[in-house]
Amino acid sequence: MNTRTRRSILAGAPAAFGLAGLILSACGGDAGESAAPAAPSTGGAAKGAPVKIGASVSTTGSNGKTGQYQVEAYQLWAEQINARGGLLGRPVEMVILDDQSDPTVGTKLYEKLINEDKVDLVLGPYSSGVTQAVSTVTEKYKYPMLSAGASASDIWKRNYKYVFGVYSVAESYFYGVIDLAKKNGLKTIAIINEDTVFPKATAAGTAEYARKEGFRIVFQEQYPTKVTDLSSLITKLKAAKPEVLVGGSYQPDSVLITRQAKELDLNVKMLAFSVGAAMPEFGEGLGKDADFIFGPSMWEPSLKTKGNSEFEASYKKKWNRDPDYHSATGFAGGQILEAAVLKAKSLDREKIREALSTLETDTVLPGKYKVDDTGTQLSHIPVVIQWQGKDKPVIGPDAMATAKPKFPMPEWKGR
């Protein structure tokens, strides 16, 4: 009897391992809503019932790190607007939830914000994948949404009327890098990217622009999210011998690519990454190996945009760390929403939508806020940064540059 029980347990064991795998992959993020602390800071002369502004941002999961910057910026903006006397004289109360970097969770949370928490207005989530998903919800309920953490142009290719871009579309992130490569007489490029919405859009836009500028694309491939080893991909890249390597990436994969490029001695003249390279942790994690690497940035502290130094100082004071560009785009989202409400002179969402589609205003970001008929952002100007020592100065466009680009990237062996 005893042996039989054991045997049947063992027979079930392989299936159990499969089940275990399934649980692991499926439970990535349906556990729901851990409400991040909202900041109903009271101050100034704001009176009356609060204006509830809802957002769900990834503060856990693979994009949790980046999303946290956006949440901090939303809360800083709310605090400042309350200190100024609130929105139309009423205090602002932020309702911020966490979608765990999962688009499905994000859609549920925006349903909850609108139907259960009965928020008056919303601000956008972080990452293009989540924004694309939740915009179906905000569109359904006719809530205008500023996409303060997303830029894949697909978001604005669906004839939606209620979603507005805050910064440049993902497709244009590497234009500055390619211009620089062209100026230095380079001819071949390789593009690799994570197979999710934003990196895909970045890669597609880069490929199209590079072709137009006369580059030959010698290698192009995608890799899955949460990849742990890219040695085979790097080996193939080595054989393709590109002069420029562009990675449509987030933080962990851009660090992994750089490390493995060095380990397998892949040398290029220019190396650039989206998102990862602009984050301070990129330099901390790679040390000297981060040098010479380029990255697009939507904002930098050195820029002389309106209110920028005040924004940086107050952010540092409140959160005790430097803002990242994702903080600035989040803050700009708040600034634009405020400008639109003032223009509409009401919390009527139709009027705010009207205002957002015609508004032209300054934010802490370089350029202006101005969208076309589809809601795509037109007037924001992305900059290019390069790691030089422990800093990442702006090296383009020329009008905003604080340092000269260092070119080419030396071979790993001689460094």
Binding site: N2, R7, I9, L10, A11, G12, A13, P14, A16, F17, G18, L19, A20, G21, I23, L24, S25, C27, G28, A31, T59, T60, G61, S62, G64, K65, Q68, D195, E221, Q222, Y223, P224, K226, V227, T228, D229, L230, S231, S232, L233, T235, K236, A239, Q251, P252, V255, L256, R259, Q260, K262, E263, L264, D265, E281, E284, G285, L286, G287, D289, W412
Partner: protein, 286 residues
């Protein structure tokens, strides 16, 4: 030809780290028939231990193993004593639920304590070039360390008194008990060793990859595949399975793309379950 050798070498180096993680997982399953879903979180804890020792004290990650492994052994010992011992004889689903709960708690705890910041340990980088071949120095060091630790664990299991007690408990807890073996202690030792091995795998991944609270899950799926390949409960099987999986992964990535390689891994897993469910070294249950 050179590139093919390069790809196989990369795969073997990758497999070394998988072996360390899967070894502990299979040990727990062998001795207790418990599938430990929190194993990846123990890897994460080990990675954080090495990160903080490196960032605060400048301690070499390999040397930090001498501190972190005994610490993780203690963590495993306590986990077994307080939690896992309650479900050892329960149906498989009970222990799955328990360890999944532990996994969630550890991930959440790490998010609250360590934040979601991506951490890296800038330790070792670059390549060792032999002719046209490039050997990744950090991966080489990680793989050799993993080999040494796996070898030591295997030695312990096959040659020492407590190792034999562990294997006896794995074969039949009742008979082991009748022979005077303290099976509760044997189980605590097994869980402790497995946790220490997972922690060591975490240390090795800390300088290969990025450290963050959810890193464990990424590696766990691979560890399950390794165990199915190698044969559940078989320590040497896990080792061979890990190397095979590493080579399959890197070769498939080279021949096709990294995306398709992920699918190839799981197709291999399915094929193994269908054709040889006991794995390379598992004993066929008659």
């Amino acid at each position: 030809m050179v590139t093919l050798v390069q790809v196989v070498v990369s795969g073997l180096l990758l497999g070394g780290v998988y072996a360390l993680l899967a070894g502990g997982l299979t040990l727990i399953f062998g001795v207790m028939r418990v599938i430990n879903l929190a194993h990846g979180e123990f890897l994460m804890l080990g990675a954080y231990a090495s990160f903080f020792l490196f960032a605060r004290l400048g301690l070499n990650p390999i040397l930090s193993l001498f501190l972190s492994m005994p610490l993780m052994f203690g963590v495993g010992w306590i986990a077994q004593r307080v939690l896992i011992s309650r479900v050892v004889r329960a149906p498989l689903l009970t222990s799955l639920l328990l360890t999944y709960g532990v996994s969630l708690a550890l991930t959440g705890g790490a998010q609250a304590t360590f934040t979601n910041d991506f951490r890296s340990v800038p330790f070792l980088s670059g390549a060792l070039n032999i002719g046209e071949l490039a050997f990744s120095v950090p991966r080489l060091v990680a793989c050799v360390t993993a080999l040494v630790l796996t070898g030591a664990a295997q030695f312990f299991l096959s040659r020492t008194r407590w190792g034999k007690a562990l294997r006896a408990t794995a074969q039949s807890a009742d008979v082991a008990l009748a022979c005077g073996i303290d099976i509760d202690r044997a189980r605590m030792i097994a869980f402790g060793i497995a946790t220490a091995l997972a922690g060591a795998a975490g240390t090795l991944t800390s300088f290969l990859y990025t450290v963050y609270p959810e890193m464990g899950k990424t590696f766990m799926l691979k560890a399950f595949a390794v165990i199915v390949l190698g044969g559940m409960g078989s320590f040497p099987g896990a080792f061979l399975g890990a190397l095979v999986l590493g080579v399959i992964e890197s070769t498939a990535s080279y021949v096709t793309t990294t995306q398709i390689a992920e699918a190839v891994i799981y197709i291999t897993l399915l094929a193994m379950l269908l054709l040889r469910p006991q794995g390379f070294f598992g004993v066929k249950e008659a």
